[in-house]
Each structure stands twice: as structure tokens, then as C-alpha cells.
């Protein structure tokens, strides 16, 4: 059933080369959109671990992205730490806080977990707004351009050469993790925790790992976001950011790495095309979201898999049957 195998083989390197070529000719604005899309690939992949693969209905992703962005922004602008140290550190800080999300996830299911994580997210934004002394509140923080071997990373094209390798690395890492034992453990937990336990999976540890991993991606994404924008405010990490993250994962396809990437590109480009008309932008965004989900409930990636353009992912088999059984 697998058609177009040539398209698939070496697809990712070809895409990277194409993006590099595009960077040679693109104007600053286009480049900025490309950078954003790449960052949202990282964010989307991170959320898909939690939402798609492990089936945890958690709402803190935007706040964790904010924590990553603020870690980078504050440490580089106020303590003059190197960006290259802050980038991984942002991921680690977000992961540490994100792992806390595993605590309620041990005891609560679905809506309760959703609310606790949502409440946590609201509290984070509230702290960012009100802890003026440290975060500068609603005034926002400027992010200084980092130095790399005496070369100043300034301007959208330079930023692109930082973001692209990071995204590629994170994507490759995600692929490796999902193919490993721990990736299968995520899916088993989503399907049935008792079955997972019977198969020798440490549910508590696996949940902690998936929450931390997902938050790590959010933190790295947030750090790159701070670099790309150069200026961040707390409101950027509120509910609309969260809606965007969820849309990316669901529109692209839950349970699909390439789906998160497709969703990120579509949903970054779409609002930019209509940026001058807020009402129209919302109407089209909402319609696209509804229609795509109603017509292809497994997202764009699900459709492409059915057509044989994308490879089937072993972990995603029997999705419909699974959807009915998951409590």
C-alpha cells in the first residue's frame, strides 16, 4: 500500500536544503514567518508527546513556553548570561516545572487534570504580569542579540541559522524517542494504565518523563521564540497561545510527528495571510479548524497517511477503535 516511497526517503534533508535556499532569497518578513513556523514545529512536537501519544489532557503548554522564553530573556538581558547557555537551561527549567504536572496526573483524569493545568497556566501568566521587580510586568523584556564566535545573531536570516538546526535536532530526537521503549510506554499508558502496569511499565515514572519531555520542548521553543521576536510580554503566553498549540497538534494530526510539523506550518502561515482583518482572520481560522477536524478527524497527517504519501506510524494503528475505548 505504500505509494511514493521516493518522496519519503530523504525528505527531511531535502526540506532543510530547500529552507536554506529560501533563506538566500527571502525578505525579512517571510524569513520571520519561516522562523516562527520552525519554532512551532518544536512546540507542536512537544505537545504531541503529551496530548497525542500519552493521552494526557494538559493545558499548561503555553505557560511552559512562556517560562522558557522568560528564562532566556531575563537571564540574557538582566544577568548578561550567554544565550547558548540559556537555551538548554530554558528547556531544563521548563522541564522541571512541567514535571510537576505529573503530580496531578497521577491522581486526576481528563477534565480535572485539564483544569489544574489550566489553573497553573493562569497562575504563571499572573506571576509574569505582577512580579514586576523581576519580570518587568506588562512592559515586557528586550532580548539582546546573542554572539556566536564573534558573529552577532541579529536579523531574521541569522536567527534562521540558529533556529533551523535546533528544530531539526529536536525533531530527530523526538523520532528516536518515540521509536524507543519509552515511546511505546507513552502509548501504552494512554491506552490503558492497568495494562501498562501489567507489562512492567512504571506508570508514575513514565508520566513524569512525558510531562518533563513535553515541557522541555516547550521551554526550548519558548527560548527560540524570545530570540526570534527580540521582545516578549506576558500576554503572549495566555489562552490564545494555548489555542494555537492545540490547533497545531489536532489539525496536523494527533499521534503523528509529521502532523505536528504540518499543523505548525499551516497555522503560522494562515493568520499571517489575513493579519490586517481580525474578524475575517478569526472566521476563517475557526472555520478551517472545524471543517478540517470534521472532514478528517485524524488531521492532515492522517489523510496523507491514508493516501500513502506519509508512512504509517506503527504506534498510531487502530486509532478509531482506540478513540472509542479510551476513557
Amino acid at each position: 500500500m505504500e505509494r511514493l516511497p521516493w518522496l519519503r526517503r530523504g525528505f527531511a534533508p531535502v526540506l532543510c536544503v530547500l529552507l536554506v535556499l529560501l533563506a538566500q532569497v527571502a525578505d525579512s518578513y517571510t524569513q520571520y514567518i519561516v522562523n516562527l513556523a520552525l519554532i512551532y514545529v518544536v512546540i507542536g512536537v512537544g505537545l504531541n508527546f503529551l496530548l497525542g501519544y500519552a493521552g494526557q489532557f494538559a493545558f499548561a503548554h503555553a505557560a511552559l513556553m512562556g517560562i522558557g522564553a522568560y528564562t532566556t530573556a531575563l537571564l540574557t538581558s538582566r544577568l548578561y548570561w550567554s544565550f547558548w547557555l540559556c537555551l538548554p537551561l530554558s528547556g531544563v527549567v521548563a522541564a522541571a516545572l512541567g514535571a510537576l504536572g505529573a503530580l496531578p496526573a497521577m491522581r486526576m483524569k481528563r477534565v480535572y487534570l485539564a483544569l489544574v493545568t489550566l489553573a497553573f497556566a493562569q497562575l504563571v501568566v499572573w506571576v509574569l504580569v505582577n512580579w514586576n521587580v523581576v519580570t518587568l510586568g506588562t512592559d515586557g523584556v528586550d532580548v539582546p542579540a546573542p554572539m556566536l564566535f564573534g558573529w552577532r545573531v541579529k536579523g531574521d536570516t541569522s536567527v534562521f541559522y540558529v533556529v533551523l538546526p535546533c528544530t531539526a535536532l529536536m525533531y530527530w530526537l523526538a523520532k528516536r524517542i518515540l521509536e524507543s521503549r519509552i515511546g511505546r510506554a507513552f502509548v501504552t499508558i494512554r491506552e490503558n494504565e492497568i495494562v501498562a502496569r501489567c507489562n512492567g511499565i512504571n506508570v508514575a515514572r513514565t508520566k513524569t518523563v512525558v510531562f518533563a519531555l513535553s515541557a522541555f520542548y516547550a521551554g526550548i521553543g519558548g527560548s527560540l521564540y524570545a530570540l526570534t521576536l527580540g521582545f516578549i510580554v506576558p500576554d503572549a503566553f495566555g489562552l490564545s497561545q494555548l489555542v494555537l498549540h492545540f490547533s497545531i497538534v489536532v489539525l496536523g494530526g494527533l499521534l503523528s510527528l509529521s502532523g505536528a510539523a504540518i499543523g505548525a506550518v499551516v497555522l503560522t502561515a494562515l493568520p499571517e495571510l489575513l493579519r490586517d482583518l481580525q474578524a475575517l482572520q478569526e472566521i476563517i481560522y475557526g472555520l478551517v479548524l472545524m471543517v478540517v477536524i470534521l472532514v478528517m478527524p485524524q488531521g492532515i497527517a492522517g489523510l496523507l497517511k491514508r493516501w500513502g504519501v506519509l508512512p504509517r506510524e506503527v504506534l498510531a494503528r487502530n486509532w478509531r477503535a482506540l478513540a472509542r475505548e479510551t476513557p
Binding site: 486526576m108 483544569l115 489536532v250 479548524l289
Partner: protein
Amino acid sequence: MNLVTLLVAGLANGSLYALVALGLVLIYKTHDLVNFAHGEILMAGGFIGFTAYQTMHLPYPVAFLLAIALGGLLGAVIELVAFRRVADQHHITLAMVTVGLSVFMKGIARVPFGTDIYTFPPAFSADRITLGSAVIAPQHLLTIGIAALLTLLLFLFFRYTTLGKQMRATQQNITGARLVGINTGRVFSSTWSLAAALGAGAGVLAAPLSLLYPDMGTNFLLKGFAAAVLGGFESVPGAIIGGFLVGIIEMLFGGYVSTAFQQVSAFFIIIVILFIRPNGLFGRRAVARV
């Protein structure tokens, strides 16, 4: 601030949260779905009421009933168009359809009403009532009264009418309900219209207390969601008590601790409560079958 003043204001806000929570719980119980567009249904109700009362100069009760009726119709249409065909999909997928709907409705509302903020005058221009040292706004009392009335009607509806009993049966066991000949499709659309009517009614009541603008629904959705979860998400009395609790907690924090903390205080309390009782105050422990 005076304690009684705060409590009355808290109860008024809380009864709005309770109405929103009731709508969320009703849909959750029949459809197993969190309706993230409920805040926008509330917003739609507010604007329908505003148009009828301010622009068309209809009397307040007529405007209120019109908002409820059109809200109910809206709910039925949403169910029929968007959810009938995909009801057996994964709950995250269904939730995303409601998120799309929420963004869509905000966009629609911005076409005639723009980005302006509208004020909705209170139902009657009576003076503030002073009771000892407490000051009570009549609009607060009206809100509490109407919310209580709607809740009572809802209770009677579920208890004594055939449709209400059919709805409860469908909530308990959908296959069983179908087996005994209940038209579950009709139950789905009635549930949606009932929930949406409650939301639209809450919108008309909420508009004078908050302000009227296309994004007004988000705050009410969050608080209503909090109230519903606090009450256990499957319990109708739980949703109402949860709503009152959220409203009162908020007001007390705002009055005695810090106004900056008011917006998030309810969430803070809820995190604590859910760690102690993971299924909400009135929720039953979920039993998982292998």
C-alpha cells in the same frame, strides 16, 4: 469592604458562573465533551439581549426571553451541524471542534460590533439598597433571583417531564436509552439547546455586571469551567455550589487580600481542593474497567 456587600456581589457573580457551569455539565454528561465555545454562546446571548433591549427598545423581559430562545436555537443548530456526525470521535478532537467554533463565533461577532466595548444598562434604575453598612446593587439581586429561578425550573424539568427523564436516561446509559426506544438524536439536540439557552440567559444577566464585547466569554468560560470541575463535572447541584464558591472566593480575595490576585484566586483554591479531592467536591470516583 463590607462582608455582606462582598458576599452579595460574590453570589451574583457566582450564580452566573453556576449557569455557565450547568451548561457545560449538561453537555459533558450527554456528549462526553467539554464545550469550549460556551463562553461565546454567553457572549451571543449578551449581544442578542443588547440588540433587542437597546437598539430595538423592546421591554427587558422580552429581550431576556428572546435571548434565551435564540440561544436555544443556536445550540440545536450547532449540535446538528457540527457534532451529530462525529460524536464517536476522540474527546480531544471533539473539544477542538468547539475551540474552532469559539474562534469562529468571536469573528462573527466582530463583524457588526467591531472591537468596541458596549455597556448594557441594568434592568431597572433603582437606587442601591443599604442594609446596615452594606451596599447592595439591585442588579445583583436580580441576577441571583433569575439564576435561582432558572435552576429551579431546570430541576423540575429533569424531575417531572418526559424529555427531562429521557435526557437523564441517555446520560446514564446511551445504549440502554436507545434500546428502550428513546430518540437519542432528539435528546442530543435538546440538551444542546437547553445548555445554550442557559448560557445565553447568563449572557444577558452578565452584560450589565461586566461589559459587552466579543471577547467577554473567555473569562466566564474559565470561571464556569472551574465551577463545574470543583463540583465534580457530572453533578448538577455540584455545578451550582461550585459556581457560588468560585464567585465568593473571588470576591473575598479581591476585598481582603489583593485585587490583583482576584482574577486567579479561584484557580489557586481549586488546585488545592483538587489535590485533596481529585474528583471534585461532589464527583464520584471513576471506576476503570480493564
